[in-house]
Amino acid sequence: MGDITVGLNCPACGGAITIAEGESVVNCQYCGSTLYAEGDKGVQTIAFKNKLDERTAIGAAQAWWGKGFKARDLKRTGAVTECYPIYIPFWDIRTRVAGWVCGYEERTRSDSKGNTKTERIYKEEMVLMDLAYSEIACDPGDLGLRSLRNFSGESTFEDLDMIPTFESTTSRDDADAHARSDAIARGRSSAHVPHITFENLHALVKRTSMIYYPIWVVRYTYQDRMYLLTVDGVTGQVLSGRAPGDPLFQSLAVTAGTSIGGLAAAGGVLFTINTGSEFGIAGVILGFIILGATYVFFRHGSEIIQGDFADRKKGPDMRQLGNIGKMIGGAYR
C-alpha cells in the first residue's frame, strides 16, 4: 500500500536516513542509533512531491476530453483558461478490524413437483484484516475530491513553499471515527452473512497520517460554458471533472432504453394475461430495470461527471434495481 519515503538526517551522526511513511522507528545505517519519528500529536505529516508541470497537466486534461461519451468536438474546441497546482490535505488512516459475525443464510430450493423448501444455513465467520482509509481533510469545494486513491510516491516538503496549500480543517478524532466506521462496515460486508444474529467487531486505528497531495486544477471552456477538472500531481491521472456530453449518443441511448424497457414491460403484461403464466412478470421486471438503468445513467442530462461530486451519486446499483423489480413483481402477484 504505502510506499513513500521521507529524507531526513540522523540527530546522532548527521547521516542521511530515509523513513517510510507511517513508520516511527528507523535505525541509522551509519552509526547504528535507533531513531524515533515524533509526529504532531501522533500524526505524521507527509507531502508528496509534485511530478507534473503545466504542460503535462494540460496534456492529461486534453487526453481525458477524448475518452468516453463526451462531446465529440470537445478536444478540438475546448480551451484551457487556467491551470495551476495546489496541495490538498488528506487523512491516511490504517486500521485493523477483528471480530466475529454470526447468523444464517436462507436458501430456497424447488423439487420436480414444484414444492419449495427453505433451508437455513448457519454461519459463524471470523473477520481479521488490515485496511486503508483516506478522506479529504479540508472543504474541497466543487473539486470532486473526497478520498485519496494513490498512496505511493516520493515525499518532500520543498514544494510546500512554492505551491498554494489548503489548510486542514477537519479533526483527527472525526477522521479516526470515520475510519473505524468504514472498517466495521467493510469487515461486516466481508463476512457475507445475510441475516446477522450476533456481531462482535473491533476496529483499531493503527496509524494516522496527514498527506499533503499535489493536485492540478484545470479550468476550461466549451461553447461559452466553464468546466473544471483535477489532475493527480503524482500519477498524472484525471481524478475528477465535468465535461459536456455528446447529445447525439445520449438521445439514441435514452430512446433505445425507454423503448426496450417499455416493450419488455408491455410484452410481459400481455404474456401473463394471455397465458396466465407468472413468467410474464419477469418481462415486467426486466422492463422496469431497463427504465431504471436508463434513468440512472442519464439523469445528469448532457454532462459527463467523474469524481466525488455532491450531485453525483454512486453508480447504478443493479441489486437495488432488482429489488425494485421484485417489489413490482410482488405487488402485481
Binding site: 535505525n27 471470523m126 462482535n200 473491533h202
Partner: protein, 196 residues
C-alpha cells in the same frame, strides 16, 4: 516530523537495535520502553527460556498476556449437541478467570488465530527470566491498548472454536492485568511453533 535518538528512560543509554521494534530494549539495564506523543513508557515484561532440545531457528515472539474475568450470561449455538451434553454434565461453562494471550507481532490471520487460541486454552508454564540470551526478538506491532481490545476478539474466538455454530453470545469481559511476555519459538514449514 522530528527525529530523535532513542535513549533509555531508566539509565539514559542510547538504544541500538537491529530491527525496527517499537519496544526498545536497553542493552545496559535491560529496561524495555515504548514511546508515543506523551513520551517514553516503561513496559513490564518477562521472558521464557527456550527448550535447549528444540531444533531449528529460534527467536522470541512477543505476546500480551491479559488476566481477564470472562463471564458468559447466555449463548445460542446451533448443532454441537454432544458437546452441549458433555458441558451440561460437567456443570456448565459460563467462563471465569483466564489468561488471554494476544500475539503482539505482525502475523498473518491464520497464525494469529492459531497462537492466540492455543496459548489461551493451554497457557505455557515456564521459569521467568529477564534476559534474551542473545536470541533475536520479533518486533512488536500491537500495543497494550490494542491488545486489550483484541482480548475481546480472542474470547469470542474461544467460544466460536467450540463444536456447533455460534449464533448469539452475551458476555462480560474485564481485563485485570496486562504484561508483555516473550516466548521462544522455532520456525517450521507450517509457521512458528512454541519452543518451551
Amino acid at each position: 516530523m522530528k527525529i530523535i535518538q532513542v535513549k533509555c528512560p531508566n539509565c539514559g543509554q542510547a538504544i541500538y537495535q537491529k530491527t525496527k521494534d517499537e519496544m526498545f530494549l536497553c542493552q545496559n539495564c535491560g529496561t524495555i520502553h515504548y514511546r508515543d506523543d506523551k513520551g517514553p513508557h516503561r513496559v513490564p515484561f518477562e521472558v521464557a527460556p527456550p527448550n535447549p532440545n528444540s531444533g531449528g531457528q529460534r527467536f522470541y515472539m512477543p505476546f500480551w498476556r491479559l488476566r481477564c474475568d470472562f463471564h458468559i450470561r447466555s449463548r445460542d449455538v446451533q448443532g454441537g449437541l454432544l458437546h452441549k451434553l458433555a458441558t451440561t454434565l460437567r456443570g456448565g461453562d459460563n467462563g471465569g478467570n483466564l489468561y488471554i494471550f494476544v500475539p503482539a507481532a505482525e502475523l498473518d490471520t491464520t497464525t494469529f488465530r492459531r497462537l492466540a487460541v492455543a496459548l489461551t486454552t493451554s497457557p505455557p508454564q515456564y521459569p521467568v527470566r529477564q534476559d534474551f540470551g542473545g536470541i533475536e526478538r520479533v518486533p512488536t506491532a500491537i500495543g497494550q491498548d490494542e491488545a486489550i481490545e483484541m482480548a475481546d476478539f480472542v474470547a469470542v474466538t474461544l467460544e466460536a472454536e467450540k463444536p456447533g455454530t455460534l449464533q448469539y453470545l452475551d458476555y462480560e469481559l474485564k481485563v485485570l492485568e496486562a504484561k508483555l511476555i516473550y516466548l521462544p519459538m522455532v520456525s517450521t514449514p507450517s509457521g512458528p511453533w512454541l519452543a518451551i
